[in-house]
Assembly symmetry: C2
Homo-oligomer: 558 residues x 2
């Protein structure tokens, strides 16, 4: 096979490098330095005000931008600089268009100073975008050598809405080839690292977002999630992240993997340093009436009564189901500790917590994988064959071309009729799971079924590169189309998170997972949880997450 | 092939016959009598009060039932008797369970007399169900010999909701084998006829509903629509019928054809003698929170502000786009007259009517057909092969086994990946059509785009059996997922609907269609139109339809 694809990569990387302002180039720390979170400040490139700006949350930035206390140019400049520094240590960016962003910010500043009004609720907020969010005049490479030079003629619908609401896109972020990996590595831009510990993966497929926002190079970013791709990077980088229901956020015009695979689709959604960022994003997007731009967007306005938890006892004495494992794998000690903290915090705040019994999780996961595999190989090959770039077989540091290919690359294609049979199976599982949830009304004594599920987001904190074997804990909610929020809780702590004595293993996988734990491997890795709500009830899930987040914070600061 | 399947049919028909009360058996009119609408009264079996009841609309029946002026037993009895009479002349029923219905009605009467309250908004209303709406303990044959003896263990979710809201299911109605025909004939129950003119088809696939409600054997029935199957029988029988958006009405537990075909799915919806019936049905179903029973139901409560036309100038000075043909076929004179009446009526009522330019209708139809064909043949054969019943090749009166099979039976199966490519095509068409609609804002001068489309529902009134070749005029809206309402307008009139001079034919199909018209063939056939709204805006579409219906009625009675 010709190696000409390497020339394409070289040329693309040169163009990327040229987009980085020289003044912001740093001398890289030694690769032995694992935790680089403090590095942006240490460089001395950021002014104290730029540090203050970049360490602010979305809900604090927006009022300052709206009042003119901070200009959009200053805020965009600060995040741009910090993003570029971050990129040099964790390799999180793909497209860099700071100059255009600053021009746009200047227009916004002028508008505000002339009219006294903001353009929209996101006025002046820099926003980072996963490398699928096409923008007019820019390439959308999405981790494929074959897509270098693929310039978009229009903005993705979501970009249109965000810009109309006042946001300032300034960078795009790295992904794995095919998007169908929970880590972040491709033949064009290489591997993204976890800023908390560079020997660990930032997760994927929105791993560039996770690493960038983890380093405060952005306060709000857009990822996509087909099996955990927003939530895994959120968990692994100590962030908030929401996987919305199908169609709540418009996908039109974004590049994607396995386009036309509509059975169990990817969704776009936010990652942020704060829950405020998540809420503000969702409300701004939905208020932008995405169904007028994207026929697949759900026609459902933002529902204030759902956000006020009218059907959830107005947020008082909620009942949570807590899932300690998925019936197949028991999570590592730090994850169990995060769950224990959450349970205790919720009880202390006056809520009730009961055990959630997982229902056929393994069967549902197998069905989901089979659906994707029904045409995935043909999809991947149809793209990589354009340039002959190799299909990536593994996320491990050693890219051994002789390694046995992952299940992603060995699936036998199916017929449409066979796919229909998988759809029937999926529908039945979804019906049974809905009944399983609704049936809890009988035990609650509240007249309601449980208000939300607390669950692990992964069976471990961010693992070493190549070791993120399973996305089962996130994928289950995609298959069921339940919105799921990630909240950060703690960090791995060698003292508190000692190896626990072996339990009765639920599966071979469980044993392997148990044996893979020791606290040293996971030094500094953040640990979070998932909160899971009902289909298309993002508003309620956000409000319940606010309650849980406040309870956890109050519990931990005692 | 063994002919044992014929024994199954014989035995099933005997059981059906046994469910008919002997007192209601009539001596059939000669087959030369085409219009049988008045026959129920002529039999003398109906009391004057039963005639009054069965000629009442849903919105008039419900207050009388709620006040106790008419008992549920009386109302159920009256419709049952009329339904049985209808069945004997147009062959519209499948399952008949009048005894159970009367028992249920008696329970409702007792509840009302004891508590002074109704069970729900549909208290005591008999409701007919297409032969897909499974009910616990009953067979769901759905036109397949192979499904004789297939007893359901649970009610379909929609039946559960209707019953909880007070409705009284009393009969199920006939369908074509596979459901994928716009007429109504199968190997078990035979052919359903059009009561306006028995030489014509009542349409399909909800043809049993159409014929039954057309004869006032039911005031409200449930059909399903994947390409026109609610709307075509509504049009052909002079009824109101709504094809709701995907998932607005729950499908769970209903039998179906091509199960797992989720790309362009069938939806359930109402047919009724009045628009009031359609509205009452939709509100009662949505108020039943179908998303708590069916994971595929859209989580969207009934929207009063949409029904009040808040985004459509509160219903004043609406702007309609009128589509005279679909770019491929010009409808017959009676259909054009119905459109002309509608246009003139709307203008007279103070609204604006502009021409609607169809956008790639033929391409969209071809894509839809290819999607269904990707696995349909395997689906049909997997069912018919269970008993060896023949696959039906044609809807014509002569069931010639040597006739060339319809396109439905010759499609080559596709791979899942090929199906994905069709999905991409479909998504692009839907995006372009949405843009086409949104772009009208520029010409309207109202600040809004057009409020609804007026369109033909078929290129002809009810044609003779076997001659309903095309469902293109309805299928287009399924492919786009726009809700579409059928309103009756006039009947074919030999004086007014003369053959028009030939036009410049748009296609070979157009020429064939033109040549197939003469007013005599279509004697007494009703003629209606479609009104088309925006995805998931059923409330607005119903309100706009009320405005148009009132305008048409007022225009015609001048």
């Amino acid at each position: 096979m010709s190696e000409q694809w390497r020339d394409l990569v070289k040329e693309k990387k040169l163009r990327q490098q040229a987009a980085i302002p020289e003044a912001w180039i740093i001398s890289p720390p030694p690769s032995s330095r694992l935790n680089v979170l403090e590095l942006p400040e240490e460089t001395g490139l950021l002014t104290p005000r730029e540090v203050e700006i970049t360490e602010s949350h979305v809900e604090d930035l927006l009022p300052k931008l709206a009042s003119g206390a901070w200009s959009a140019v200053d805020v965009t400049g600060a995040f741009s600089k910090r993003a570029i520094i971050a990129h040099q240590v964790v390799n999180c960016l793909t497209e860099i268009f700071i100059e255009q962003a600053l021009q746009r910010a200047a227009v916004l500043d002028e508008y505000l100073s002339k009219t006294g009004k903001v353009v929209g609720p996101l006025h002046g907020l820099p926003i980072s975008l996963k490398d699928q969010l096409a923008m007019k005049g820019f390439e959308t490479v999405m981790g494929y050598v074959s897509w270098i030079g693929k310039y978009s003629e229009v903005d993705a619908a979501l970009v249109e809405i965000l810009v109309a609401q006042g946001a300032v896109p300034f960078v795009r972020t790295n992904v794995p080839q095919t998007l169908m990996w929970p880590e972040t590595f491709n033949n064009v831009f290489g591997r993204t690292l976890n800023p908390h510990n560079r020997s660990l993966t930032p997760g994927g497929s929105s791993g560039g977002e996770g690493a960038l926002i983890g380093m405060r190079g952005s306060a709000l970013g857009v990822g996509s999630d087909i099996g955990g791709s927003i939530r895994i990077p959120s968990l692994f980088n100590g962030l908030y992240g929401l996987r919305p229901s199908y169609g709540r956020v418009p996908y039109r015009g974004a590049a994607n993997s396995m386009e036309g695979q509509d059975s169990l689709p990817s969704v776009l959604g936010p990652l942020s340093t704060s829950l405020g960022g998540i809420k503000i994003f969702m409300k701004a997007v939905i208020d932008g009436k995405p169904w007028k731009k994207d026929p697949l967007a759900v026609n459902k306005p933002w529902d204030e009564s759902s956000f006020a938890l009218k059907e959830h006892n107005n947020g008082h004495q909620l009942v949570f189901g807590i899932m300690w494992n998925d019936g197949n794998v028991v999570p590592h000690p730090p994850v169990l500790r995060a769950l224990e903290i959450t349970r205790n915090a919720l009880i202390e705040a006056g809520h009730k917590v009961v055990d959630w019994i997982p229902y056929k999780h393994k069967e549902i996961i197998i069905n989901a994988r089979a659906i994707w595999a029904s045409g995935s190989q043909e999809d991947y090959v149809s793209i990589t064959s354009l340039t002959g770039e190799p299909l990536i077989h593994t996320m491990s540091l050693e890219q051994d071309p002789l390694a046995p290919p992952s299940f992603r690359l060995t699936a036998a294609p199916k017929t449409a009729f066979q796919l229909w049979q998988l759809h029937k199976e999926k529908r039945n599982y979804r019906q049974e799971y809905l009944d399983h949830w609704e049936a809890t009304v009988a035990q609650m004594g509240t007249g309601r079924c449980i208000d939300a599920i607390i669950a692990p987001g992964a069976p471990y904190a961010a693992p070493p590169h190549g070791k993120n074997y399973s996305a089962d804990f996130t994928m289950i909610w995609n298959a069921l189309d339940y919105p799921a929020m990630v909240l950060p809780v703690v960090k791995v702590d060698a003292t508190l998170d000692k190896v626990r004595p072996p339990h009765q293993f639920l599966s071979e996988e469980d044993k392997t997972n148990y044996e893979s734990y020791n606290p040293e491997t996971f030094t500094d890795a953040p640990v979070g949880i998932q909160i899971v709500g009902r289909t298309c009830e993002e508003e309620a899930l956000i409000a319940i997450s606010e309650i849980a987040d406040a309870a956890i914070k109050s519990f931990l600061t005692k």
